[in-house]
């Protein structure tokens, strides 16, 4: 999509975007429908989880790129937002790994004397 130099050109571009937005909205609705269906399919857990993650990422990027105009705007805005996203995703992954259930020694926790624990 070229950059408009006059408002009349911009209006033409906006008119063509109507169809883009409509198609995108329908596409997002279909993806949401697929998400709801696959959770009830007798597939392997990893496949359903993988499917859900991929579909969510597609929906996420479809909204930020087209509805939020990142694909039409200056690239700086895209990287600005991505910086926040990368830090947020990195924090999420780090937290999930740090607090992994497999790392919790339940026996050790259960054996600690509560009084000693309080003093410590």
């Amino acid at each position: 999509m070229g950059h408009a130099t006059t408002w009349k050109e911009a209006a033409k571009i906006e008119n063509s975007r109507y169809h883009t937005f409509f198609n995108l909205a329908m596409f997002l609705a279909v993806l949401t429908g697929i998400e709801i269906v696959i959770i009830f399919l007798p597939w392997a857990t990893w496949l359903v989880m993988g499917g859900l993650i991929v579909l969510s990422v597609i929906k996420f990027f479809a909204v930020i790129l087209w509805f939020m105009h990142l694909i039409y705007d200056k690239i700086l805005l895209f990287w600005l937002f991505m910086t926040g996203m990368v830090i947020a995703t990195g924090t999420m992954i780090a937290l999930m790994l740090l607090f992994s259930y497999e790392d919790v020694d339940e026996e050790a926790i259960a054996s600690v004397d509560p009084v000693v624990q309080m003093v410590a």
Binding site: R17, T45, M68, L77, L80, I87
Partner: protein, 339 residues
Amino acid sequence: MATSANPPLDEKLLERIHADQNTNTGIENKKLIMWLFLASDCMFFGTLISTHLIYRKLYPFGHPQEGAVNITGTFDIELTSFSTFILLMSSFLMALAVSAMHKGAIQSFRNYTFGVILFGLVFLGGQVYEFQHFFHGQGWYEWKATAPDGQEVVGNEANGRYFKDVASAAAAKESFLHEHYGVKIESFAAQKPNEFKYKLKLPSKTGGEPMIFTGVYEYHPEAHHAEDGESYLKPREAFKHDNFGFTLDEFKQVKQVPGLSLQNSVFGSTFYVMTGTHGTHVAIGILWLFSMLVFSYTKNFSVINAVDVEIAGLYWHFVDIVWIVIFTVVYLVEYIPSA
């Protein structure tokens, strides 16, 4: 006075809003700061979602003291899917509202914005209903009643499922009586004055054959005053009011799952804080768009405010993308066996 047509175009103003901005970045400062805010809000929601997921994993049963909570039994995936669809469509309308402002079509902007506000309110209404439903917990009940023809009717956990969202036995009993045991009138016809032949049906909730009851109802108008205290209920209404001659002999709770609250479980705490924070964002978005809508009816509003509409739109779309993540990792994942 507002008109339904778009106002005449102000070409100079339109040229101004489509020109590159006179800033270091060439981007309107308001827009830049909004994107910075959204980037930081990503981190905020990222920590809320991680907290929920971590505690969900560490305390898989939700209610450490009171036993396992059936999370998929508590969730109402049909309602949440509908809310998700509504929020996606509101995002579509928001994109059209911003597009309308860029073309100077103020009336179209108003129409689309009104739609966004309406859809936002539907989403919030769904969330309020959902929270109320979760908070009240679930109960399963057994009941015993005597039909007018002397037959004994028993309802149990399986065929009394539609009371399961009521954890309070007194409230469930009241609702049960209000619904007249779930009995439906098949036919009701006069055979003599004040005597009516009836056929009743009690559908089976387990998919089996329904129970059928037939008999004759004697109508005594003087025993059935209407709400005004002077006129009488009509025979069919009076019959219904008498619970079709059924007598409830027993109504007891056989199983209860306490409602989800902020205090009673880790799952409740993290779930309400996360979805509540998202709901607050939606509410702020609605107020923001409503103020833009009101502002659009004043003399001070013109196409120069297109950038203000755009940043309100960015905020609204952000609320939508956060929900895309929450819907998947908080709701849908619960339905995957052994996830």
